[in-house]
């Protein structure tokens, strides 16, 4: 584990380099141990792919021996040891997300099909036939970065990002896929759209998904999409 400062506000622990379930499992166990410690002055714990970033309030830790940064590093080293006995809930929650593929819902599906030299139907069956893992939540509130895209669907990001992608859009960016919970700019190839709300600021938790959750996509018809809405 490598510890580095993120300015004067956080400490980043790097636990690996790749995007793989084993590294994510260690990252989530470590984040869990940090959360359980309920340490004073810690404001946010952010796991993502191969790292955990711990945000702290330096004013609350100014009296700590060696200063705030050193005290957060010590906490992280202690929790890293404790986390070795945890074998967390990686992949125990499976969320099925209905997607209306193609047409106006997924305007880039033909670009993906052409790039991958397969049919539009194959794009749908490959995308909805795979198991995905949430590696991180970010970009916009509730946006899940999903690993597990079949290599046959790997597609480049758009050269010029769209200034507005509708909320619910399902996209492919290189070897990742994800869902835009709300309208935002976006550079991924959009292949479909879900009526499911992935971010609900009035609920707790607001984000439907968290790192470690599994996701499956299920094709739905435009009629069902409109009914659901």
């Amino acid at each position: 584990m490598k510890l580095q400062p993120l300015g004067d506000v956080a400490v980043v622990a790097t636990l690996g380099e790749g995007i793989d379930p084993a590294t994510l499992a260690r990252v989530l166990d470590f984040a869990e141990a940090l959360g359980r410690a309920k340490a004073k002055g810690i404001t946010d714990i952010v796991p993502a792919y191969a790292s955990v970033t711990v945000f702290y309030d330096s004013a609350q830790l100014s009296d700590a021996p060696g200063g705030a940064y050193e005290s957060v590093c010590r906490l992280m080293e202690t929790c890293a040891v404790q986390s070795k006995s945890l074998h967390g809930a990686l992949g125990t929650k499976v969320v099925e997300i209905p997607v209306c593929y193609g047409d106006d819902y997924g305007p880039d599906i033909e670009i993906v099909a052409e790039h991958c030299r397969i049919s539009v139907e194959d794009v749908v069956s490959l995308h909805s036939g795979a198991d995905y893992m949430v590696y991180a939540i970010g970009f916009t509130p509730g946006f899940p970065y999903l690993g597990g895209l079949p290599e046959a669907l790997r597609s480049p990001r758009k050269d010029t990002p769209r200034s507005r992608v509708p909320g619910g859009s399902v996209g492919i960016g290189d070897l990742q896929t994800g869902v835009y919970p709300m309208a935002s700019p976006g550079g991924w190839q959009i292949i479909g759209r879900t009526p499911m709300q992935l971010f609900r600021p009035h609920l707790e938790p607001a984000a439907l998904l968290k790192p470690g959750d599994r996701v499956r996509f299920k094709p739905m018809s435009p009629g069902d999409y409109e009914l659901w809405r």
Binding site: Q4, P5, L6, G7, D8, V9, A10, V12, T14, E17, G18, I19, A31, T43, D44, I45, V46, P47, A48, Y49, A50, S51, T53, F55, S58, A59, S62, G67, A68, Y69, A136, I137, G138, F139, T140, P141, G142, F143, Y145, M182, S184, F199, P201, H202, P205, A206, A207, K210
Partner: protein
């Protein structure tokens, strides 16, 4: 009481000191881009320092007040509006701002604070996801926003000692802590002057200068970023992330602006310049403590003024 928005200005939003504890769900910290100016504006009208105030960007609104009220405007300076002191507006008054003299963002506080519902632990507006603050959006002409009634009696015959104000400048020298990928870049960040471009917003300040070349390193796996993080995308023009920064980033981080200097960046308008110098984490924390001591002194002084008014 009601405050009528006659003209909204370029981008006027309700902001506070942001949201904590939701970064893991992708919710940015948000809040005032210049948190010190917001805190001072609140303190000047006797409010708790984190109450929601209006963040005014580059062009100011015109507001009509239903009743007498004490207000204060801190941060960017506008002609015709007394800076860094409380002043009284009377029933039916229209508060008009003149031309912008200095800075980019002003904070207008009102005695009692603006009346908006908290959401996820904050009352600030997060524009990209359209939630929080006043209907999740910037104010528009014709809106009516409410303030919480307050009977507090103030006096306006004084202003803040300039020495406690941030050292705003149109070309500040900003302290940064080297970032995770600092070694993959030369020393260009510390030798050049960078210009603020018009593509800057609450999410980030986009700078332009001699492009910064990355001499090593490949694609990065995304990790957390925060307000202050300086990223260098492939075009070599650095971006300093600000209050509404997305929570994860995949561009290399060359540096991170210390918390105490965030207000200096928050007040840079397009065309202004900035230079950077290196510091350490412990020095940054010392700067933050010094800032808090200055604010504590001011809080104490103000409490006495307000009591004796």
């Amino acid at each position: 009481m009601e405050i009528k928005v006659i003209h909204a200005g370029m981008q006027t939003t309700v902001q506070d000191l942001g949201r904590r504890g939701h970064l893991a769900q992708g919710v940015p910290i948000g809040g005032a881009v210049d948190p010190v100016a917001l805190r001072l504006a609140n303190l000047l009208v006797g409010n708790a320092e984190g109450l929601p105030a209006l963040e005014i960007t580059l062009t100011a609104p015109e507001l009509e007040f239903e009743k007498d009220a004490w207000v204060a405007v801190c941060g960017a300076r506008f002609e015709g509006v007394p800076p860094w002191r409380p002043f009284r507006v009377f029933e039916g008054d229209r508060l008009k701002f003149g031309n912008r003299v200095q800075g980019c963002r002003a904070y207008l506080s009102i005695c009692g604070g603006f009346d908006v519902e908290p959401l996820m632990g904050g009352r600030g507006t997060f524009l990209p996801a359209a939630f929080g603050g006043f209907e999740g959006r910037a104010l528009r002409d014709g809106d009516v926003i409410r303030s919480v009634p307050s009977e507090r009696v103030l006096s306006g015959r004084w202003s803040i000692d300039e020495r406690v104000l941030p050292h705003y400048s149109r070309e500040p020298l900003v302290s940064v802590i080297p970032g995770s990928q600092a070694a993959e870049f030369g020393d260009a960040l510390y030798s050049e002057r960078f210009t603020v471009t018009a593509r800057s917003n609450r999410m980030g300040i986009r700078l332009e200068g001699p492009p910064i070349a990355r001499t090593a390193g490949g694609e990065l796996v995304s990790t957390a970023v925060a307000p202050g993080t300086v990223q260098v995308p492939p075009d070599g023009n650095p971006i300093v992330l600000m209050a509404d920064a997305q929570t994860l980033g995949g561009y290399p981080r060359i540096a991170h602006v210390v918390s105490a200097d965030i207000p200096l960046l928050a007040q840079l308008a397009p065309g202004d310049g900035v230079r950077f110098k290196k510091t350490s984490v412990s020095e940054a924390h010392a700067l933050a403590r010094a800032e808090e001591r200055r604010l504590a002194l001011l809080r104490q002084g103000l409490a006495e003024k307000i009591r004796s008014a």
